[in-house]
């Protein structure tokens, strides 16, 4: 088998496992769903991070996905999840393409901050849009998939759909990693001068990764809107994007499964902290993050990867 596809068995296994857990522990399936929905933007972030780029503004697309679902179902009566997901994906891809034409020139902290600024601009607009509920946002209900209900008592269906979306997203990015553009990202991170002197466009690779990441984030936001049944500007707030970054770092850049695992783990940890340390859950969460960084230097994906690589030594030139 081609090495490109090695991620498939664990991915499908993981998906089946999550579905099983949700089946046997129904009281956890909402937490799992939230985790998975956050995993999608993280998946995109991890792709960007392979190119050395950290976006502090994936909330922009998370919100875009959520609001697409909300607006289309509220104002245009479109209630079918498949159609909503497709519209979210296409819409955010278009936005990301235009925005990306500017953004793809930026690197490092400047990329991070510009993405942050852009998502905060959307946040500002949403906050001011009282017709859309302002900061309170609004509820989304009655979304179905080809007539099958997804929420309420049938939320297992919603979770299954989400799992399917995650698997497709992960396969998509896994395969992208094997394309020329996908491989180029590592070069962009390491040495852009060399990339240019190989006749390739670093900006182009960044643009493509950015658009893909945006689509993932939008799908996550759309699924979150469907499953939570509520959307609000918080989705575009920097803290939301920041949380994606946190999960992405915990996940590490090693694979397409780790983002989901990290997101779910963090969500479960957070749930426990909320219930058992309501007054100090932030402290607990902070300590756990520190411990994870200390003991898993490569992120969760480092757990399954071969030994650590001394990347730091690369500062030679």
């Amino acid at each position: 088998m081609n090495r490109t596809f090695t991620f498939l068995p664990p991915l499908l296994g993981g998906a089946a496992l999550i579905a099983l857990i949700a089946w046997f522990l129904p009281s956890w399936n909402f937490v799992l769903a939230i985790g998975l929905a956050k995993g999608l933007p993280v998946l995109g972030l991890v792709l960007l991070m392979r190119g050395g780029l950290v976006s502090f503004g994936q909330g922009l697309y998370y919100a875009l996905g959520g609001y697409t679902v909300g607006l289309a179902s509220q104002y245009f009566g479109l209630k079918d999840a498949a159609a909503l997901l497709v519209i979210s994906a296409i819409g955010s891809a278009l936005v990301a393409f235009v925005v990306g034409l500017l953004l793809s020139r930026y690197r490092d902290i400047f990329f991070a901050m510009l993405t942050l600024a852009l998502s905060m601009l959307l946040y500002g607009i949403l906050v001011k849009s009282t017709e859309l509920g302002g900061t309170d946002g609004f509820n989304v209900h009655g979304i179905t998939l080809f007539g099958i209900p997804l929420t309420g008592a049938d939320r297992m269906n919603g979770l299954l759909l989400l799992i399917a979306v995650c698997v497709l997203g992960a396969i998509n990015l896994g395969l992208f990693g094997a394309t020329a553009f996908g491989r180029l990202l590592a070069g962009v991170r390491d040495n852009e001068i060399r990339v240019e002197y190989l006749g390739a466009s670093a900006d182009r690779a960044v643009l493509i990764a950015y658009v893909l990441a945006a689509v993932m984030a939008a799908l996550g936001g759309a699924m979150s809107g469907i499953i939570v049944g509520h959307i609000d500007p918080e989705m575009a707030f920097w803290a939301t994007s920041g949380e994606f970054v946190v999960i992405a770092i915990l996940a590490g850049t090693g694979g397409v499964l780790a983002p989901f695992v990290a997101a779910v783990v963090l969500e479960v940890v957070r749930s426990f902290a909320y219930q058992y340390a309501p007054n100090t859950w932030q402290l607990v969460l902070g300590l756990i993050i520190l411990a994870l960084i200390l003991f898993l230097p490569q992120g969760l994906s480092g757990l399954v990867r071969r030994g650590p690589r001394a990347v730091n030594a690369g500062e030679k030139s």
Partner: protein, 253 residues
Amino acid sequence: MTAPIIAAKGLRKRFGAVVAANDVNVDIMPGTISGLIGTNGAGKTTFINMITGYLQPDEGSILLEGGEIVGLTPRDVTRRGVARSFQIPQLFNSLTAVENLTLAEAALRSRGFAGFAMLPDSALEKSARATLERFGLERFGDSLAGTMPEGIRKLLDIAVAMVARPRVLFLDEPTSGVSSEEKFPIMDRVIAATRADNMSMLFVEHDMEIVRRYSDRVLAFFEGRVLIDDKPDVVMNDTQVRTLIIGEEKAHG
């Protein structure tokens, strides 16, 4: 008479008070190998930087097979068949040597929509290892570029540059940092590869032995000017070159 593949005319470049190129005129003929020598700071790297689009000359023109390339980006220049290595190697430090070469191949194939096609892992790796072997680097296939010794990085830098199969190749001090007993075998390999593909090549070098042995002609730079541009023997015996660059005359009084 054949036309030069690269014709640089009247190049000027200054950085504040420093004149790094002062009316530089150089023709590079197809299929030839030129050596470029000069004191430190003479403008050798600047010359390569201007040709490959990293720096824009203040004045002058550079024709690649008759077409103007001043104003093009490094990427565009590279796509037109010019490649280079660097005085300080430019590698993908967190990747292995094999990965560096496959990435170079990926870069080559990322032009246009072809970039979305999936690349065959094993085939790429095989050709990367073959390239390494050609440069005698097979031992380093799986070590990270960032952790390799300087000399190996130099070589890998050249190998990476040659993945694109350019028609003109510029090497900035290819053998500095390489042990002396290995300099010649390495140059042999590089020269063989260039000749095989009928490339033109220009290399900057401080080691006069190498220059004498491998160049068809030699250019000597001094303070942004071309001191002399001639056959190796002529250049090496030129008094100015001997005093200013090789530093022999002084010894002989």
